[in-house]
């Protein structure tokens, strides 16, 4: 049933990818920003479109007329005729049939999208490449799973090789970045299992217990339903239960069943982690001198705020060339760089034990001070006295499993060391000709700490390298942060799929969000569980929903 028609006026000309429509004068008509509508021409033309903006207007020219029109500013009069209220909706085209880059050619009728219309969206993606990324609401009954139509991403654009990487932006706590990253992980693993891929998901747990207790899923979906009901009551929003339940039901129908698929969960944490009780059989990780490579040392020792001099970098390289694999420990390195160990050659030139060449005395001392500083802040993850610790290894990855690496409560230096070492290990592992895993998904929150905009750092160089080569390596980075404006342009730009949750208007006014169009204004109004998705397969961003992860609802 038609609910409006396409507008074609001088003020509101229709364009190929966006146009306005008016809606029938019926207050009960539930159209809002994010609703999907269909405009249909007389000759079978069809445009599936997202409501990007809405306006209510009337024939009244301005506030003066409204004021005068109410008995010259009398709010108590009740005029016999109520001026017509005209609701307008700005539509952003998602799919066009026949495929053309031309605007509507007439005042086409507009109606609500139905399941068959939304499935047109998926037609762009061959079935074997469809990865569930969220849902579009198309009905008024939120408790009906049929009201939540699946939105798919194209695996080759989400994971590579056509494109790769996902970036999620949103305010902490409100945008549910981690929850969405986890939902996406489940969807990728479900797809991977279905198509016979060997995929592993590695999740860095950077704050609180976001990714802890992932093993604690309900036994079955009946129990899950009870959890959902109790959780909704607990948070004071009982109406949420039906919505979450309906979306999970639809997710299961699309093959994303975290309970049924029983994805294995492995935890890796550091010695002394007070949250260890929230993990099941955690493996303790640590790094000794011989477990690391040059990039790891640089990431640990040098930051954007602390730039080493060229002689320091040369000395570090020379030292590592000479000592790596030789049973050296951090303690030994600290001693080698101390004043007592240096052997004066001439003037201010000194030699470092076991390292060829000579150095101005300030160089090893400065590097030593930097190392001492780092070690004093890295006691949780560094084996100071032993050459080797128990590093995270590629061989620990389990096919279609979730691997949580605990970083919460580590110092910034420790996080840098671990993140760099893990990513390096993953990329090297994926380059091995014979491997048990052929695709890895890395979830990293607070990406702005590792790849901030502005000055370069060794850590950032590694991230940039990964996002540049990742789609060929089949290493996909799902990065998240509060403010995308604080993330390096290359890293952000290389993320072909972008997701935005609730954020402050001052953040989304940054030009990097221009691709959102008028949806940018909606970002500060997004609800929990609601995100804007920009994926290369779709010409316009979509407002999608996703269900709350089950482990978060554990009683």
């Amino acid at each position: 049933m038609a609910i409006g028609r396409v507008l074609i006026t001088q003020r509101e000309p229709a364009k190929p990818y966006e146009f306005w429509c008016w809606l029938q004068n019926d207050p009960s008509l539930q159209v809002e920003v994010g609703t999907v509508l269909v405009a249909e021409g007389d000759n079978g033309e069809k445009a599936l479109a997202l409501v990007e903006d809405m306006q209510s207007t009337s024939a009244a020219l301005d506030h003066l007329l409204e004021f005068y029109g109410s008995g010259y500013g009398n709010p108590n009069i009740n005029p016999p005729t109520r001026p017509a209220l005209i609701r307008l909706a700005k539509l952003r085209v998602l799919y066009r049939e026949p495929s053309t880059a031309s605007p509507p050619t007439g005042r086409w009728q507009v109606r609500f999208a139905q399941a068959a219309d939304v499935t047109l969206l998926a037609q762009r993606i061959p079935p074997q490449y469809r990865i569930l990324v969220g849902f579009l609401p198309v009905g008024s009954d939120q408790a009906d799973p049929a009201s939540w139509l699946p939105v798919f991403a194209h695996a080759q654009f989400l994971l590579g090789p056509e494109g790769a990487h996902v970036n999620i932006t949103g305010a902490t706590g409100l945008a549910t970045k981690s929850s969405y990253a986890l939902f996406l992980s489940y969807a990728v693993l479900a797809w991977s299992a279905a198509v016979g891929e060997q995929t592993a998901v590695v999740l860095f747990n950077v704050k609180r217990r976001d990714f802890l207790s992932l093993h604690g899923l309900p036994q079955d979906w009946n129990t899950a339903s009870q959890w959902i009901q109790q959780w909704a009551q607990r948070i004071g929003e009982p109406a949420l239960a039906d919505r979450v339940q309906a979306m999970w039901t639809q997710a299961i129908a699309q093959g994303v069943d975290p309970i049924g698929l029983q994805f294995p969960v492995k935890y890796f944490t550091y010695q002394g982690d007070p949250d260890v009780s929230f993990m099941q059989n955690p493996q303790i990780y640590s790094y000794g001198f011989d477990d690391l490579q040059r990039g790891d040392f640089e990431a640990a020792l040098f930051t954007a705020a602390y730039h080493p001099t060229d002689p320091q970098v040369i000395l570090l390289t020379a030292y590592l060339d000479a000592k790596l694999g030789q049973g050296t420990s951090f303690q030994t390195m600290e001693q080698d760089l101390s004043r007592q160990s240096l052997r004066r050659v001439q003037g201010n030139e000194v030699q470092v034990p076991g390292v060829p060449g000579s150095w101005m005395i300030g160089v090893p001392l400065a590097l030593g001070r930097r190392l001492t500083g780092f070690l004093s802040h890295a006691s949780h993850v560094v084996e100071r006295n032993n050459p080797n610790g128990r590093p995270f290894t590629f061989s620990a990855l389990q096919a279609n499993g979730l691997h949580v690496i605990q970083l919460y409560r580590l110092t910034e230096a420790e996080k840098r060391l671990v993140v760099n070492a893990v990513i390096r290990e993953l990329s090297q592992g994926l380059e091995q000709p014979s491997r048990q895993i052929n695709r890895v998904l890395v979830i990293a929150d607070e990406l702005n700490k590792y790849a901030p905009s502005g000055a370069m750092s060794p850590m950032k160089e590694q991230i940039i390298d990964i996002v540049a080569r990742g789609r060929d390596l089949q290493l996909t980075l799902i990065g998240a942060q509060q403010f995308a404006s604080q993330v390096d342009d290359q890293v952000y730009g290389n993320s072909e799929t972008k997701v935005v949750g609730y954020s402050d208007i001052s953040e989304v006014s940054n030009p990097i969000y221009k691709y959102l169009g008028d949806l940018r204004d909606q970002v500060p109004n997004l609800k929990k569980g609601q995100l804007i998705l920009k994926h290369p397969v779709y010409p316009s961003p979509l407002i999608i929903w996703f269900p709350t992860p089950l482990h978060e609802m554990r009683p």
Binding site: A59, L65, Y68, G69, G71, I77, P79, T81, R82
Partner: protein, 423 residues
């Protein structure tokens, strides 16, 4: 609108065969939707009463229907007869009624006509070849049944060589002869006048249709009520009795639930109107009875009482574009049967003595006076909201009428679409 498109295609064929040449597209402002000129003339009139009404009366809305008509008439082609180029006009006429339901307006009836207007007989006289070029479809002429022809959705044309109304000999008068064709301005003027006449005739037909379907519901009609009384026969033979009130019963039925809203007053009484412009706690409406007076776009008649109302005095301080002292005045045409609405008077209401009318309206306890006051109250409550319009219309036009006009105007073919008949 598709039927109009179909008819445009048929007209194109006719004009092509008649050797007509397309006119270059030009947007002549006065031919878009002719508006009324600002002019006033004073006429002798007798004040029958003046009534004070609270600016915010507590009355409930009375009017269910709001009637208006819009038209666009453009020269679309020209033909040559004896070396004289004669313009051919195409007029798109739309009349309609909106219904008010629970304070909201919604379309109720609409009728439209696409009429080719040109001096056919004069062309035949100038060039006999035109005898074989009879336009397609039905002619809207003095023979009447015009509303029926409009509703038939046939192709329509009208000959401006002759009048629509019958002369004293029972035959139509001559408006343009062969020799007049060289007076292009006059040919165009006659075409524009014909379009206005046809629009008024269609409005009468539409009101009559409403009368048949909803005889007890009140209609607020845009414009003066006197002109329709001239066109009854042309609308439908049943309404022949409207003309000169030849059939008081028919006129009674037609007029007893209709009020005319005149937003551009051209005819005012020779004196006494100042009372309507007085400022005070009440709105004062003087009620006049004129004789039969016709101005270009206004008319009054003795069967209709004229109530003058300074509609929105609150706005005059804000709107400086006053064109004259009376530009804030609206006139409401109240037919005598609307006030003297008694079945006993159905056959003789038009014979009421003027003194009797005045006496009854002056008597505050009379039914007629109370009915008049009630009518004036329901008119006053229509003052709000204010329509979006030109400054003068904001002062004098009622919102439902403006909305009806907006609805109808939105359906008019553009100048370019009309000219498209030849492209």
């Amino acid at each position: 609108m598709s039927i109009v498109t179909d008819r445009l295609a048929s007209l194109k064929g006719y004009l092509g065969n008649a050797g007509a040449n397309p006119l270059p597209p030009s947007d002549i402002p006065e031919e878009r939707a002719p508006d009324l000129p600002t002019a006033t003339s004073s006429s002798a009139a007798r004040e029958m009463a003046h009534v004070g009404i609270d600016p915010f009366p507590g009355a409930s809305p009375l009017f269910r229907f709001f009637v208006d008509g819009v038209q666009r008439t453009v020269p679309v082609a020209e033909v040559t007869a004896n070396n004289v180029r004669v313009p051919i006009h195409l007029s798109h006429l739309i009349v309609g009624a909106m219904e008010r339901v629970e304070r909201e307006l919604r379309p109720f009836i609409v009728q439209e006509a696409l009429v080719l207007i040109f001096p056919y007989q004069a062309l035949q006289a100038a060039d006999p070849a035109w005898s074989a070029r009879r336009p397609p479809g039905r002619e809207l002429s003095s023979s009447g049944r015009i509303y029926e022809a409009v509703k038939s959705r046939d192709l329509l044309y009208s000959d401006t060589s002759i009048t629509l109304r019958l002369g004293s000999g029972g035959r139509p008068g001559v408006l343009l002869q062969a020799g007049d064709l060289i007076r292009t301005g006059e040919v165009r003027r006659k075409a524009l006048d014909r379009a206005k006449e046809l629009l008024r005739i269609m409005e009468v037909g539409l009101v009559w249709e409403l009368r048949q379907r909803c005889p007890e519901d009140w209609i607020l009609w845009d414009g003066p009520l006197a002109p329709p009384l001239k066109y009854g026969r042309l609308v439908d033979p049943t309404l022949q009795g409207l003309e000169e009130i030849a059939r008081p019963d028919i006129a009674f039925d037609f007029l007893r639930r209709v009020i005319g809203a005149v937003k551009r007053v051209q005819i005012i009484p020779a004196g006494g109107l100042e009372v309507a412009l007085s400022s005070g706690s009440s709105l004062v409406l003087p009620i006049y009875r004129f004789g039969d007076v016709i101005e270009e776009d206004d008319a009054v008649a003795k069967e209709i009482l004229s109530a003058f109302l300074w509609l929105r005095p609150e706005l005059t301080g804000e709107i400086s574009a006053l064109w004259s002292t009376v530009s804030g005045l609206a006139r409401f045409d109240i037919p005598i049967p609307a006030v003297f609405d008694n079945p006993i008077m159905r056959d003789n209401w038009n014979t009421l003595d003027e003194n009797t009318i005045e006496a009854l309206l002056a008597n505050s306890s009379s039914t007629e006076r109370q009915r008049l006051e009630k009518l004036l109250q329901v008119i006053v409550i229509e003052r709000w909201p204010v329509p979006t319009a030109t400054a003068t219309r904001m002062l004098t036009e009622l919102f439902p009428i403006a909305e009806t006009e907006l609805w109808l105007t939105s359906q008019l073919l553009s100048v370019y679409e009309l000219r498209g008949v030849f492209s």
